[in-house]
Amino acid sequence: MVKYGMVIDLNRCIGCRSCAVICKIHNSLPPGTWWHRVETVGSKEHQVSTGEFPNLSEVYLPVPCMHCENPPCVKVCPVGATWKREDGVVLVDFERCIGCRYCMTACPYGVRQFNWQDSDESFEKGFKATGFEEGFVEGYRHGYPVDHRTKDGRLVYTPKRPRGVVEKCTFCVQYIDQGLKPACVRGCPGNARIFGDLDDPNSEISQVLRDKGYIKLLEDMGTDPKVFYIPPMRKKNRGAVKYSAEIEGGV
């Protein structure tokens, strides 16, 4: 059985936020909704340095849904609207979700978002906040344009989620079920992401996890996330001008 997982190499991640935007466009996310976020660790402002001058650093952290093996959100859903599929992907059935938001409190990663209003309203509000009087050309919405259901008929992707349901990253279920990779993986310009079958020892992702050291977010919470991070290598004395042996000894 396939078990999907993702690796994000923080050495290669340049914090460009392309993954966040790819996800937004492909999954038809309205303003205010981000299934995938990228921030700079230790800094409120993105791409601003942290650390002690001159040993500065900037480490970026892209955060999609962790698709935990032991998902707390699934445990608390009173109606079974969110569940973990056989292939390890944690999904929301939009027709079952009653919007109680219990799953949102259970998720320690904060990756779930609630539709307080119709997405059309979100777009309207977003455009107004930008200073526009109008929105998109009449009726336009970006995003994969058709619904997607699991084999047993559950609605796990629809371009316009209605008001009152919770949504989150689905590993682009509408794409992976067609044999494609999630949009963020396909489009990362830093080539920092790998997606594949954790149960296949010969898959690229399995090899990388064997060869490289990796970390998981909030590992002590016991959620057993299936998104793994290759931590950035520590560059000694970053920012400080270094001495070399030749200079010390005189050339």
Partner: protein, 898 residues
């Protein structure tokens, strides 16, 4: 349909237990709609190509006539290139379908800048425009019509069509490369070319990558991976920059220096390399002007025909060599003074590099001469680590570290091969950017790091490059357009100054000034409104006609008299190339142009038609049908008009055909570089590599010169070789420049010159009170000003423009994080919200260019900049190659809370 929670529960209760599937009207409706229709998607490959140099292929998924998603095509032949694309190209749909999308032709009804227009038909707009143009052409001459065609490299067909139109009447084109300050002037001075660079794939081949002021991980997003891979393969990456950046964050070392002091650092490194004899003697003797002799009496190179004992040999050789060359002299260690043939790099001499010699001239006078290398050695001896540390060390750093760093860097850069220096635009867009470039080039030249895989110096700004001869399309029947230099247009005082009169050799200027301004694919009223002059020209009426061709209502459109709606890269056929990789690609229409927007080739054809009717030129009148590459297409459309069967749709179809014909024409007449590259191949394969004459057709600058000993320079299209070869008359890489103006300004060899001394303080000594340097860097969220109005990009920035500064600066000015501040000088001001970053140099204030004025409370970041003209850039005139180029960062400013 609105569905409340209660309804849902009601229905589900009625529907029974089975909740999965159909239990609500909402979902029932949606599901029915979807399952009734088959999935009719079409996928069209096009190329995202604003002025970012990426030229990334995207697959547009079209559903019900709309682009619903964009996915990186990731189909480049070398797997390491894949995917290409970024957050901006990804969200292009926000612009195509956004609220700023232009719908119909517009004619201004209010005052300029008010943004009041009336929508009119194409005929009305074009007739109006043509009438006004003819009026102006008659009154002031056709050269008074200036056209700005930004980054033609991104679109050879449609942008070429505007140049084609300009050539018909002899309008003055403004070269975007220099208008944008993207031309790094050291290239023509040193190598005799416009600009050269490695394709990003080659970055992986270097073992030492020294990045001087380039923020690659923000400005070259699709190519970031190559730096990562190089690093993984063991390359050392060093970033030299006054400010910490995402690129510095990934580097092995960040060397923070004072703004614009890179020449000093480079020359000091050169000094070490020379002192420690780490230079490649054979290389510099063969490929550079280091062994050529220079007269000490007049600082000019010694010409062979001036030398008594060489006169006859030299005269004979001179007969055989082209006019753009000259015959120089070396001192052979065995045979004394010898003549150098500039047309070959094969040496029949073993020259000395050091020493002083006396030579007798034809007229009997005896003069002392020294090889260039000797002069260089003496000059850089002044750039001791100690003295240089004085210049480059930031105020909050320790000089001793820098003294040691200089010595160490010199050894590293001279011994770790291959070395690639990436010289960034933010760094060379200063008044003395050319000096910096020349100094940096010394490092790669002295160490033999040129013309090899992974070894060289590159600059990556502007998608300017004409990659093969395009004259068949760009010129109408062999006619030529004229040129006008943007900086000279903006800087009237300089045009009328002594210095200009004295030093200008060839640079033209319209006799009656610029009276009409047609711009396509640019936003000059935001991006080039230096010292607010664009707006002043518009407000005063000095500029009698302003026409914008765009697909969105930008700030500049608001200042126009006529706005013509064009299309972006998913609504037309276009031929696209870039500097960053050698692939030729097509843009293709994924959708019908929206509303009444038209492919630009049609717009210019229609304009040409009308102008020719009203303008007295029989050849044009007779041949107007040839504006389209196939006259039959022109006639077909005219025929449809006559029979009343014309429609916009038909015009578009014909324009698409004409575009493809133009592609075909340019490929068929383009010569060796595009031999075998056909329209069919492009349609089938997507990206096809140019036939670069190097191993594996890799884009390696100067490969032929270094490996096949072809003399410098290689040709820079579209200009014939003699025009640029005269910049390096010796046929070699030239570090010594002996034109009068270089001598006058003390720049015969690269030197360090402080910023502002020759500009701000010269213009106004009082400017010393503006203690900060104003850097208008490129932003992650925009490509210049494209995507400024992209709602997703704005969301990522919290809809707020920012001003970055060092916490020390903030403290001094009583500014806290998040405060609204104003950056200002005598010329202008701009507002933004303060961000404190200890990585910013204490004397630097950063504002990210590209924000449309409406997001800046009506202010404009370019009002602070100034159209400086460096006299050396007037020594020759080859548009976009040797021409005054904008120095965006040569600006002193201050900041205060608002």
């Amino acid at each position: 349909m609105e569905l409340s929670r209660r309804d849902f529960l009601k229905y589900s209760a009625l529907g029974g237990v089975a909740l999965a599937g159909i239990s609500s009207t909402y979902f029932k409706r949606v599901q029915a709609e979807i399952s009734a229709k088959p999935k009719n998607f079409s996928i069209i490959r096009s190329v995202c190509s604003p002025n970012c140099t990426g030229a990334c292929a995207f697959d547009a998924l079209v559903y019900k006539g709309r682009i619903e998603t964009l996915t990186q095509s990731a189909d480049y032949p070398e797997p390491e290139y894949n995917p290409r694309g970024c957050l901006r190209g990804q969200s292009m749909v926000n612009l195509i379908y956004g609220p700023d999308r232009l719908k119909k032709p517009l004619i201004r009804v209010g005052k300029r800048g008010e943004g009041k227009f009336k929508a009119v038909s194409w005929d009305t707009a074009l007739d109006y425009m043509a009438d006004k143009l003819v009026e102006i052409m008659k009154k002031y001459g056709p050269e008074s019509v200036a056209v700005s065609v930004q980054v033609p490299g991104t679109g050879y067909v449609h942008k070429g069509a505007l140049i084609r139109l300009a050539s018909m009447f002899g309008w003055s084109a403004i070269h975007g490369y220099t208008m944008n300050g993207d031309l790094p002037a050291f290239w023509s001075q040193t190598f005799g070319v416009q600009t050269e660079e490695f394709e990003s794939l080659e970055w992986m081949e270097s073992k030492y990558i020294a990045i001087f002021g380039s923020n690659v991980f923000v400005t070259r997003l699709p190519d970031a991976k190559f730096l990562s891979i190089a690093s993984e393969r063991g390359a050392k990456i060093v970033v030299v920059d006054p400010n910490f950046s995402p690129t510095a964050a990934k580097a092995d070392e960040w060397i923070q220096i004072n703004p614009s002091t890179d020449s000093a650092l480079a020359l000091s490194i050169v000094n070490e390399i020379i002192k420690q004899k780490l230079y490649d003697e054979e290389f510099i003797k063969t490929y550079t002007d280091m062994p050529l002799l220079v007269r000490l009496d007049n600082q000019k190179r010694l010409r062979a025909y001036e030398v008594k004992e060489l006169k006859d040999t030299a005269e004979k050789l001179r007969q055989q060599t082209p006019d753009y060359r000259d015959i120089f002299v070396v001192y052979d260690r065995n045979e004394g003074f010898k003549v150098v043939n500039p047309e070959t790099l094969e040496r029949d001499f073993d020259p000395v590099l050091e020493g002083e010699f006396e030579v007798e001239l034809v007229n009997g006078k005896k003069v002392k001469v020294k090889p260039v290398f000797q002069l260089l050695k003496e000059e850089v001896a002044e750039y001791t680590p100690d003295k240089t540390a004085e210049i480059i060390t930031p105020p909050n750093r320790d000089k001793k570290e820098y003294i040691d760093a200089i010595k160490r860097l010199a050894v590293e850069m001279a011994t770790v091969r291959p070395l690639h220096i990436i010289y960034g635009a933010s760094n060379y867009q200063w008044f003395h950017g050319d000096l910096k470039g020349r100094a940096l080039s010394l490092i790669v030249a002295l160490t033999g790091n040129i013309g090899k895989s992974g070894a060289g110096i590159s600059t990556y700004a502007g998608q300017f490059k004409i990659r093969w001869p395009l004259g068949a399309w760009w010129s109408f029947k062999g006619r030529k357009n004229k040129w006008v230099t943007y900086l000279l247009w903006m800087n009237k005082e300089y045009r009328e100054s002594e210095e200009f009169r004295k030093y200008n050799k060839e640079t033209p200027y319209p006799k009656n000034d610029v009276k009409a301004f047609i711009f396509g694919w640019n936003n000059p009223f935001d991006q080039h409104n230096m010292a607010n002059r664009m707006i002043e020209l518009a407000e005063s009426g000095e500029l009698e006609l302003i026409v914008a061709i765009d697909f969105q209502m930008t700030t500049s459109c608001r200042w126009a008299d006529v706005v013509l709606p064009g299309v972006a890269w998913y609504e037309k056929y276009e031929l696209t190339a870039t500097i960053l990789h050698p692939y030729v690609q097509l843009q293709q229409p994924a959708i019908e142009p929206l509303f009444e927007c038209m492919p630009e080739i049609w717009i210019f054809k229609e304009l040409a038609k009308r102008l020719v009717e009203k303008w007295n030129d029989p050849e044009l009148k007779e041949n107007i049908a040839e504006f389209y590459p196939d006259p039959e297409l022109f006639k077909e459309e005219e025929g449809a008009k006559a029979t009343g069967t014309w429609s916009l749709k038909l015009a578009r179809e014909i324009a698409h055909k004409a575009s493809l014909k133009a592609v075909d024409l340019m490929l068929k007449t383009g010569g060796d570089l595009v031999e075998g590259i056909t329209l069919e191949r492009l349609l089938k394969e997507g990206a096809v590599r140019l036939n670069i004459p190097t191993p594996n057709k890799r884009q390696i600058p100067f490969w032929e010169q270094i490996n096949q000993k072809k003399p410098f320079p290689p040709q820079s299209f579209p200009v014939p070789l003699p025009k640029t070869a005269r910049f390096v008359k010796s046929g070699r890489i030239e570090f010594y420049k002996d034109e009068d103006i270089f001598i006058d300004f003390g720049e015969t060899l690269p030197v360090h010159k402080d910023p502002f001394v020759d500009t701000e303080y010269k213009l106004n000594p009082d400017a010393k009170k503006y203690k900060y340097v104003y850097i208008t860097r490129n932003a992650l969220y925009r490509v210049h000003s494209t995507h400024s109005n992209n709602i997703t990009m704005l969301e990522l920035q919290d809809f707020k423009p920012r001003v970055w500064m060092n916490p020390e600066t903030a403290k001094e000015k009583d500014i806290r994080e998040g405060d609204l501040v104003e950056v200002y000088n005598d010329r202008g001001r701009v507002v933004g919200y303060a961000v404190l970053d200890v990585g910013i140099h204490p004397h630097v204030i950063i504002f990210e260019q590209g924000w449309w004025s409406r997001y800046l409370k009506g202010t404009s970041y370019n009002t602070l900049t100034y159209p400086w003209v460096k006299a050396i850039h007037l020594a020759y005139f080859v548009p976009g190659i040797w021409e005054p180029t904008t120095a965006w960062n040569e600006v002193a400013c201050d900041v205060r809370k608002v």
